[in-house]
């Protein structure tokens, strides 16, 4: 009898302990892949003892799931790549506006939502890559100039279905207006050396192999490929240094509106903007830390400093559909 009572007490305690542990965790939906976030979560768990559970998928399905689950969602945090996706999540009302002095202090305003619903964590420039064999850097100046006649048959682009190109075009529309942007994009399409590529890596490899002379890619793709092939016959160029600067996008996160562990989620998010996490988060993928106090990795720093476009990245979301339609009209597949 006594023994069974003791057993019962022990079981109850175990069950309670389990429940307590479950209450002290953070659940994340992430479109940033496993190997680019797990080390960050592991570091957080090692430091605080709070476990982080997550699943990865593309943004759109994750967003649909968050919406469908509504207040029953198990998710506390949404991590995405591209600011447009975060803006969209905010529009759909699945993110909670946060008042956080830590985040406000660590991350510049242009890389945050104006309502505090999300914050950027790492930055990547979408810039020009060129062949060191067939292009003299003095031929290059701006994104717009790649539409000029002298680039005919020399340009490579990635598909317009990729959100990075949609965001770039969205900022062009914000800067130049739709009519001028459509002209530029048509110029690019006209200058294509071959069909658009499905990914940035293939594009850089095509430049290396001599299929085309210049293209537009995210910096970390170049970084990864360069690490594998140090003799890569391609280099990065920072365009528009005389005017608005290089187009920069971000990977970021927000706390969900119905987060079951909202407090823990906010603590995790704040920690992710601090020095330790920023170095890790950006370093894993050769990105620039969104916190300007933190220096990028040596590899990334070697590409040189540049002036970044200061346009608020919410524009990427606001104008994404418009930009995509414009690219469709211009024949950019």
């Amino acid at each position: 009898m006594q023994a069974s009572k003791r057993l019962f007490a022990a079981l109850t305690l175990t069950a309670l302990a389990g429940a307590v542990q479950a209450a002290d965790e953070v659940v994340v939906y992430s479109s940033r892949i496993d190997e680019l976030i797990k080390p960050v979560f592991d570091a957080y768990t090692a430091k605080t003892g709070v476990p982080v559970k997550f699943i990865t998928d593309k943004e759109a399905p994750l967003l649909a799931r968050l919406k469908a689950e509504g207040e029953n969602t198990p998710a506390d945090m949404l991590i995405t790549v591209d600011a447009g996706n975060l803006w969209q999540a905010e529009q759909e009302g699945v993110l909670k506006p946060l008042q956080s002095a830590v985040i406000a202090q660590n991350i510049p305003a242009q890389y945050r939502s104006s309502t505090g619903s999300w914050t950027g964590l790492s930055l990547r420039a979408r810039t020009i890559v060129y062949s060191t064999e067939r292009v003299n850097p003095s031929e290059l100046s701006t994104y717009e100039a790649l539409a000029d006649k002298n680039w005919e048959g020399r340009l490579c682009l990635r598909t317009s279905k990729k959100v990075y190109n949609q965001s770039l075009t969205a900022t062009l529309i914000e800067t130049h207006g739709a009519a001028k942007t459509e002209e530029i994009v048509k110029g690019w399409v006209n200058n294509l050396a071959t069909d658009v590529f499905a990914d940035d890596t293939a594009l850089i490899q095509a430049i290396d192999a001599g299929q085309c002379d210049a293209g537009i890619v995210n910096t970390y793709y170049f970084g990864r490929l360069h690490k594998q092939q140090p003799d890569l016959k391609a280099k990065l160029f920072w365009p528009n240094q005389a005017d608005r600067g290089v187009h920069v996008n971000l990977s970021g996160a927000g706390v969900t509106k119905y987060a079951p562990h909202a407090e823990q989620a906010q603590q995790l998010l704040e920690w992710m903007t601090t020095e330790e996490a920023q170095g890790l988060f950006a370093g894993l993928n050769q990105e620039f830390p969104a916190n300007p106090q933190i220096a990028p990795s040596a590899e990334v720093a070697a590409w040189g400093v540049f002036k970044a476009d200061s346009i608020p990245l919410e524009v990427a979301g606001k104008r994404q559909a418009e930009a995509t339609m414009l690219m469709d009209r211009a024949g950019w597949n």
Partner: protein, 538 residues
């Protein structure tokens, strides 16, 4: 009018159809509001080109898989030539390679910057230009090479089951092998070929992974673009419901074309019918060997090279978990799906009414939709059930009032069931149809009925068909990506999830490790099954 004994089968069939219709109705309800701006834009800039592309793709892949599947099945099942013994099962192996994997191998190997063209430029000078790889022809070739096994497997079973009596009769009546093929074997195998072709075409219509590697725009890519780029899930589901309509037409056509032909079963042949000699034998060996090389050997070699260059550094103890999860999901989903499909096939056989035919047809529709679309529809349906049913019920019972369906393993298994029902149903229906009604009648007259009848008469005869069905579902579940991604419980990463994570970053070489593991895991049952069925019949 249905007989009372027939009506007993209705509840089962209705329940299954309801399960499949639940997510499909999500698509139909999407029409309550139409975004004119998006539709006008699609109409003006995209739709005609996409429909043209899609038709071209379906036509090309349809013709290709039929030619390849039927010719290979004919050669390996009825003829004898050097290498036949192993090509017979080896030709089934490409089924284990997911379409997106063959696509990225093909493009990576043959595109301008790939090793083949680089080497040729080194040898023949920089001006050398090959035909474009990322083209309509390229994408059609890849899809034929991954989808022909559907036709091959089903046609092969049909040819083998035709037995020797018929073909010998044809020979005695003076038909040459060629005209015996056209006038006897082919018409009799038509239902099986049609079923295989229908599966291949549905896969083609729903494919997103392979076409996006080629950046080849189809109706399905437009669905994703509308969802991802215009952020309009509603318009995307509307497009998907149109695609569903097209698939229903394909299926209807398949049923009509199947017509009154009834598959029959005879005494199996002891040995091959035609001994090929000389040039004919050589041509047969070369043809089968060539297909096998292009669809399996070359891609696997390329994956091995990539694995050696990049992938081996990623190999760690986590792969044990990935493989176990993959096997577990595939195994359970295959048994559940085959079990339910068997019930459906029996219901259809025992109560062959018009209502039953329609019900069964509806229950098979899940296969036709692009995976992500179906996954999201199932997800929406389940979260609706969670809200409306599970939570109130659990509150009422004094439970935690938590959603139970979404994010649970059973929800993922249900999603697989809905998606792959058609894959299991086809082979089962075919092998059930081969059991002549006289057989159960005779056994009933001998006093064996009910459960005994099933276990002692039906089951032994259904084993080959059920194994084919289970194999197809198992391998399809291994390769399945979108539903697994969206609905897997926390920590349930599979090999295809890992492939997704690598390819979504353009890291094709590193995707070789999970892709290769996936192929190996999928191969084991393929080899086992094919050898077994070869022994049983051969």
């Amino acid at each position: 009018m249905a007989h009372p004994a027939q009506r007993r089968w209705y509840p089962i069939a209705f329940a299954v159809a309801l399960l499949v219709l639940l997510p499909l109705s999500v698509l139909l309800f999407s029409w309550h509001e139409v975004d004119r701006q998006i539709w006008a834009h699609l109409w003006q800039t995209q739709l005609m080109r996409l429909i043209g592309n899609t038709l071209m793709l379906v036509l090309g892949v349809g013709i290709g898989v039929t030619l390849l599947g039927v010719s290979l099945a004919w050669l390996t099942s009825l003829c004898e030539f050097p290498g036949r013994r192993w090509l017979d099962w080896a030709l089934m192996l490409p089924f284990a390679i997911p379409a997106y994997v063959l696509a990225f191998v093909f493009v990576g190997l043959l595109d301008f910057a790939g090793p083949v063209q680089s080497l040729m430029r080194e040898w023949f000078g920089a001006d050398l230009r090959l035909p474009r790889v990322r083209s309509t022809g390229g994408v059609i070739t890849v899809l034929i090479l991954v989808f022909y096994p559907y036709v091959y497997l089903l046609a092969r079973n049909a040819f083998l089951a035709q037995g020797k009596g018929l073909m010998e009769a044809a020979r005695v009546l003076g038909l040459s092998p060629w005209s015996a093929f056209w006038r006897v074997a082919l018409p009799m195998a038509r239902p099986a070929i049609g079923a295989g072709l229908a599966l291949a075409i549905m896969e083609t219509l729903a494919d997103f992974g392979a076409v996006s590697v080629f950046n080849f725009d189809t109706f399905t890519t437009a669905i994703y673009k509308t969802w991802y780029s215009f952020y309009s899930l509603t318009s995307a589901t509307q497009l998907a419901s149109l695609l569903l309509l097209a698939v229903m037409l394909v299926l209807y056509g398949e049923r009509r074309a199947r017509g009154a032909v009834r598959p029959v079963s005879e005494r199996p042949r002891g040995k091959a019918l035609y001994q090929l000699k000389g040039a004919q034998a050589l041509a047969a060996s070369v043809w089968c060997g060539l297909v096998f090389a292009c669809a399996f050997v070359i891609p696997v070699l390329q994956l091995l090279v990539w694995f050696w260059q990049r992938g081996r550094f990623d190999l760690d103890e986590r792969y044990t978990g990935l493989i176990l999860h993959t096997l577990y999901l595939g195994g359970i989903a295959a048994s559940v799906t085959v079990g339910v499909a068997l019930l459906l096939a029996f219901a259809r056989r025992m109560a062959p009414t018009r209502l039953m035919r329609t019900t069964v047809g509806l229950a098979n529709l899940g296969y036709a939709l692009p995976g992500s679309m179906l996954a999201v529809a199932i997800m929406l349906a389940f979260s609706y059930l969670d809200r409306q049913l599970v939570i109130p019920l659990s509150d009422w019972l004094g439970g935690a009032g938590k959603p139970l369906l979404l994010g649970s393993l059973s929800a993922l298994l249900l999603a697989y069931l809905i998606r792959f029902m058609a894959v299991a149903y086809g082979p089962l229906e075919n092998s059930l149809a081969r059991i002549r009604p006289s057989l159960p009648e005779a056994s009933r007259s001998l006093g064996v009925g009910g459960v005994g009848l099933f276990f002692r008469v039906y089951l032994p005869l259904l084993v080959p068909g059920a194994l084919s069905a289970a194999l197809l579902v198992f391998v399809d579940v291994l390769k399945e990506m979108p539903a697994t991604l969206l609905m897997r419980p926390f920590g349930w990463d599979t090999l295809s999830v890992r492939v997704f994570e690598m390819t979504s970053e353009g890291e094709w070489a590193r995707a070789a490790l999970p892709a290769l593991t996936l192929v190996l895991v999928g191969l084991l049952p393929v080899i086992g099954l094919i050898r077994r069925s070869a022994r049983r019949i051969g």
